[in-house]
């Protein structure tokens, strides 16, 4: 792995992916959702400990056998498909010109995003990671404006009025948006800095930022949560920091940029795994993966348990990789 990235770059890549998933979060959210996501992040950190140990001992994915890598690849492709699917659903709320054309509009939008993702993923992990930092900074500024505006215009009653569906349900919701764990498993291997510090930093960052975004959403949309499909997108649209001018179209920029990077990260990670698992595929790896992801996205719309299955595969891969590594190591010793 000559393409090494820094802690900061990995965190930016993965947080973009997580925040985009939160943008596309369907159904009601409450303060309990934020807590669920936070605790979910801590639990994810705990199950990542073996993986962190593996990378700390200079283990690589190449030492883990094909099965673990195939599980990871499945998780990544399914999560990529989910991202495409979420983008299409949430894309109806944020204005994309071609969306008005109907089915073909959706296909054109997907194709355009796939083409840009293909370019980003094929530019190499370093270029993607460096640009993701700038994209994340841009997103942070925009989200900061939305959050500040949400606090200014907030009504604390909204927190009370947003109904929770129970803590364990919220916790599971937090987990169902963790398809990025498979990508994290791959990307962590590219980090040149201190691996444990990177992983801890990422999960803590994830817990804090997702909680902040969700709370902002609850503060704005708490009262109308029952009629909102996508609470975060709605919150961004309802939040107007300036009394004389609307700025919610700017949210479309952050939404699109995060969508592109989220899918590109999955494509890049999957491309690496395809190279490991199917070394005979030398060309068009990324294109093939993106086509499969888009197809998976189209199918996942009809698959109710798609999200859960994706998370099972991703988390399974995250656990399987270090387990297989340590078993093989023990046998060799």
């Amino acid at each position: 792995m000559s393409n090494k990235i820094t802690t900061f770059q990995l965190c930016s890549l993965m947080l973009i992916n997580d925040i985009f998933a939160i943008f596309c979060l369907c159904g009601g959210i409450s303060a309990a959702t934020a807590a669920g996501f936070g605790i979910g992040s801590v639990l994810q950190l705990i199950i990542s400990v073996p993986l962190i140990c593996m990378y700390k001992k200079r283990g690589t994915l190449s030492d883990c056998g094909k099965i673990a890598k195939i599980i990871l690849l499945g998780g990544i492709i399914l999560w990529g498909g989910m991202l495409f699917s979420m983008l299409m659903k949430a894309g109806n709320l944020v204005f994309i010109p071609f969306e008005e054309v109907g089915k073909w509009g959706g296909i054109i939008t997907t194709a355009l995003i796939a083409v840009v993702c293909l370019y980003i993923a094929s530019s190499g992990i370093k270029a993607m990671a460096r640009s993701a930092v700038i994209a994340a900074a841009l997103g942070a500024v925009c989200l900061g404006v939305v959050a500040v505006s949400a606090i200014i215009h907030s009504d604390l009653e909204n927190i009370k009025s947003a109904e929770s569906t129970g803590f364990f349900h919220e916790l599971s919701k937090g987990f169902t948006l963790s398809g990025g764990l498979a990508g994290f498993t791959v990307m962590l291997g590219f980090v040149k800095d201190n691996i444990p510090r990177t992983a801890i930093g990422y999960f803590i960052g994830k817990a804090v930022i997702t909680a902040a975004v969700l709370i902002s959403g609850v503060l704005v949309c708490g009262g109308i949560m029952k009629i909102t499909d996508f609470p975060i997108v709605w919150a961004a649209q309802l939040t107007q920091p300036f009394s004389f001018q609307r700025i919610d179209s700017l949210f479309l920029i952050v939404f699109t940029v995060f969508a592109v990077y989220s899918i590109a990260i999955q494509a890049s990670a999957a491309e690496y795994l395809v190279g490991e698992v199917f070394p005979f595929i030398k060309r068009y790896r990324c294109s093939i993966i993106l086509v499969i992801m888009a197809a998976a996205g189209a199918l996942s719309g009809q698959w109710i348990h798609g999200n859960a299955f994706t998370v099972i595969l991703s988390a399974g891969g995250l656990i399987a990789v270090p387990v297989i590594y340590f078993i093989r190591r023990k046998i060799r010793l």
């Binding site: 010109p97 840009v116 640009s131 994209a135 001018q245 479309l252 699109t256």
Partner: protein, 485 residues
């Protein structure tokens, strides 16, 4: 005779054969002057290229003393006497083959050959006409030096040396171009430049097998990455003071004879926003100017696209007064906003190109006429709306603030306009992702073009987003190696 056969051919000892061979190589070219004479009792010839050497210097410094030598036993004795007892020129050379001999003649050396000698002595008495040191045409400044590079490589080397009087500054001249035999000079500070960078530049230069080198553009592709990079990872400067500051930071500079620019390796994006005046002003004012440039850069390629996208797809972003104003202005325009913007931008590019290529007096007239046509007639006739013209003018002006990036800005302006006009903010966003990735992927010799922003270096911010004072800067000891990945 094949094209380059003569280059490795050793010089004939027989003078007549020697001269016949030189005439054969040069095809009896009129500007190669051959003067035969006898000195020290030995038949000799004096060779030079007409117009390339100073006749007065050649006569006073070489011809006059050399024609009055004591008798010598043979040619070798004559050459040894000249070498040991006469300092005819500070720049002396010796040729053993016809390749070197022709190169020296064509470079303005006075070449001396003798009957029985299989070598030639050459004395530097160059005196061709050159443009003197003048004010740089493209990198203007207010408080700094007003000297710029000229077309003569030796003059440019002296301009650098005058500013860095230290033995650490190394200048290595080499010749490239099979036909042009152009001198290029690699300059670096031996205590600052990363050795790996130097090795890799030398390897890149060894790959050059061009026939001619007529501008820096012939060399730059060899010292840049092969893959498609929108932005160039090597820079150009026609200012010796800028080049010296880069040398101090551990960069390498390539000077090319006949070109008044130095190639800076590596160049970073943030440097396009720096000027030498930044270091002459107070830091707070320099920071203000720097931020103006950053803003102007973003406006230069995004403004027309954002304007079109807002007007066509996201009018809610405008407040009601502005929206009404724009709607009223665009009401009578016969073309769609996207077409109108394209036409105005293309008109500007045509005018700019005409202004640059035409002779100066005509160029000025073109600017006045086009200004009147666009500024007055087009608006009055209703072909172009006033807000659009204002937006375009602002965007174009913004591009002129960062002249280094003008080619990229021009293309990006059109690309973003197309994306914004067809797909609104969605289009601008996806194109921005691609451009950003390309920019961040630009890297040569391990130096990321976007450093110190991404990869982030807090130390580098002191002279990127801000401009720290010299009291702090003197302890910083910055070299570009800090950004190496």
């Amino acid at each position: 005779m094949k094209e380059n056969d003569y280059k490795k051919q050793r010089i004939y000892a027989d003078l007549e054969q020697n001269l016949n061979y030189i005439k054969k190589i040069t095809g009896h070219s009129t500007d190669i002057l051959v003067n035969e004479f006898v000195t020290g009792g030995i038949k000799c010839a004096f060779l030079c290229c007409d117009g390339m050497l100073s006749s007065r210097a050649a006569a006073d410094m070489v011809l006059s003393p050399i024609t009055d030598l004591p008798k010598q036993a043979n040619a070798q004795g004559l050459f040894d006497y000249i070498q040991a007892h006469m300092l005819l020129s500070a720049d002396r050379s010796k040729a053993e083959n016809y390749g070197d001999l022709m190169r020296l003649i064509h470079s303005g050396f006075a070449v001396f050959i003798a009957e029985g000698a299989d070598t030639a002595l050459a004395f530097g008495v160059q005196g061709f006409n050159t443009r003197g040191v003048q004010e740089p045409s493209g990198e203007g400044n207010i408080l700094g030096s007003h000297e710029g590079f000229s077309e003569t490589i030796r003059t440019n080397m002296s301009l650098i040396r005058r500013r860095l009087k230290t033995p650490e500054l190394v200048m290595k001249i080499m010749t490239k171009g099979n036909k042009s035999n152009t001198e290029i000079c690699l300059c670096y500070m031996k205590d600052r430049v990363p050795p790996r960078l130097l090795d890799r530049i030398m390897k890149s230069l060894d790959e050059i097998d061009l026939e001619t080198i007529l501008s820096t553009g012939y060399i730059r592709p060899f010292v840049e990455k092969k893959s498609f990079e929108l932005f160039s990872s090597t820079g150009l400067s026609e200012r010796p003071d800028v080049v010296c500051s880069k040398l101090i930071e551990g960069r390498a500079i390539i000077l090319v004879d006949g070109v008044p620019y130095g190639i800076i390796i590596p160049r970073l994006l943030c440097e396009s926003f720096h000027t030498i005046d930044d270091y002459a002003h107070k830091p707070f004012y320099a920071i203000f100017l720097r931020w103006i440039r950053y803003g102007a850069f973003i406006l230069s390629f995004l403004l027309p696209a954002v304007y079109t996208a807002i007007a066509m797809y996201h009018p809610e972003l405008l407040n009601s007064t502005l929206l009404m104003l724009l709607a009223k202005e665009e009401e009578n325009a016969p073309l769609s906003l996207l077409t109108e913007t394209f036409i105005v931008l293309i008109m500007y590019e045509v005018i700019r190109e005409a202004g640059v290529r035409l002779p100066k007096p005509v160029g000025g007239a073109v600017s006045i006429i086009s200004g009147l046509i666009i500024g007055d007639a087009a608006v009055k006739s209703g072909l172009v709306s006033t807000p659009l013209l204002t937006i375009t003018a602002l965007s174009v002006l913004g591009g002129l603030v960062v002249p280094d990036l003008n080619p990229q800005i021009t293309l990006l302006r059109f690309a973003f306009l197309a994306a914004g006009g067809i797909l609104g903010f969605f289009g601008i966003s996806i194109l921005a992702c691609a451009v950003l990735t390309n920019m961040c992927g630009t890297e040569d010799y391990g130096f990321p073009f976007t450093a110190p922003i991404s990869p982030f270096s807090s130390k580098g911010m002191g002279d990127t987003l801000f401009r720290m004072g010299f009291r702090k800067m003197q302890n910083r000891n910055f070299t570009v190696e800090e950004y190496h990945e």
